[in-house]
Symmetry: C2
Subunit: 208 residues, 2 copies
DNA sequence: ATCAAATTCAAACAGGCGTTTAAAATAGCG
DNA sequence: CGCTATTTTAAACGCCTGTTTGAATTTGAT
């Protein structure tokens, strides 16, 4: 295992758990059992390390997500909103094969990135991976053409909020569900619960 | 204006904007134009200051929220989910009279508290203000009795995520909406957009 | 006015932070 | 092997953090 990957592996766990601001390079290098200076040697700075951690996941996720959404767009039949959101399931759960707890870790990182560091990750995602967003809005529009661009804007951001927030605290929620309802839940179970919710939210009748 | 309130006023603005971890006591005391040591003299520690900032809002909000929800529960007619979530509007917007931009600031703080500092604020809220949660779940149950406790648990947390996440980035979203759709939006406008969304999400047909 | 209590203040504390340095170790190629 | 380039290492850098100290000041009741 290369030093670079030791750092990335340690960093993603700590970043997901404690946020970017809340994790120090010394915690990362001691968990990864590498020298402190290795981070700046291999990545240049902490900010670049954060980008590298996110890129590793995005490069794994985005082609699969893009083709799943593109398939919906090119298909002749009109998809339901459930179809659109369900298109995320496969690509997201694939991250579990890419890396242990990959799905959960990635979604937690996404949540951290949206609230930590005053939205620089939002900029990073929308500028580096614009096609994913374009295909997604296109698919939603196909499923619900009556929705105006402005209403879609708001509802998609609400959806992003639901997903990202839920996942960034999914460990705690899964624990509570386990103790209160004596039910085993995993990240796939949470995803299956959240899809009808966001689909119904986006499909809500238009306010006037 | 007392030193204590100068500190609280400066702290809430910075906490909302940059998070709890991301704000230093020196930033707070210099914005509030008080001595650095005053924070520890009046509040004991940074952690206690955070609690005090949140308590000031919760003590203003929770009695109004509780009575609005209690009214729904005691009423003879069955409320809709829209009614339940609309019960939040009045108490939340009242924070704008309590303090300039109070609604937005409070919701941003709530969002910060849920993701910063590993959920100690969640513990604080649920243990210090349990009645608000109890009345809320009771009202939702009255509006949608078929929903099992477990499904309600998940959907209410999804809702919390939608609200908190949206509001913690509401400034950025309002800016984007303004430039993309040339439409003036304020915090009340966002709240009116989000209520049909979360009401429809909670009302979604039960998955099986 | 007096005296004690409450508050403010400048200064320093110990410790953690991201980053840099220069020497030591390792690797890869002729 | 010998030599160069890459990588690892321990140590230090300057800066910022939350907190504490003890003296100066202000306050409020007698």
């Amino acid at each position: 295992m290369s030093t670079k990957n030791k750092i990335l592996d340690a960093a993603e766990v700590l970043f997901a758990d404690k946020g970017f601001n809340g994790t120090s390079l010394r915690e990362i290098t001691s968990l990864g059992e590498v020298n402190l200076a290795a981070v700046n040697y291999h990545f240049g700075s902490k900010k670049e390390l954060i980008k590298a951690v996110m890129s590793r996941y995005m490069n794994e996720l985005s082609p699969r997500l893009e083709s799943a959404l593109a398939a919906l767009c090119q298909d002749d039949v009109q998809p339901t909103l459930n179809d659109v959101f369900s298109a995320f399931i496969g690509p997201l759960l694939h991250l579990n094969e890419f890396k242990e707890n990959g799905t959960s870790t990635f979604l937690q990182l996404l949540g951290r990135g949206y609230t930590d560091s005053q939205g620089f990750l939002r900029w990073f995602l929308t500028t580096q991976y614009p096609d994913v967003f374009a295909h997604f809005t296109q698919a939603v529009h196909k499923a619900y053409p009556e929705l105006s661009a402005e209403e879609m804007f708001w509802r998609l951001h609400f959806t992003m909020g639901t997903i990202v927030f839920t996942m960034s605290s999914s460990d705690a929620l899964i624990d509570i569900a386990h103790s209160d309802f004596e039910r085993e839940v995993d990240i796939a179970g949470v995803i299956k619960q959240v899809i009808p919710y966001v689909a119904a939210g986006v499909a809500a009748p238009i306010a006037f």
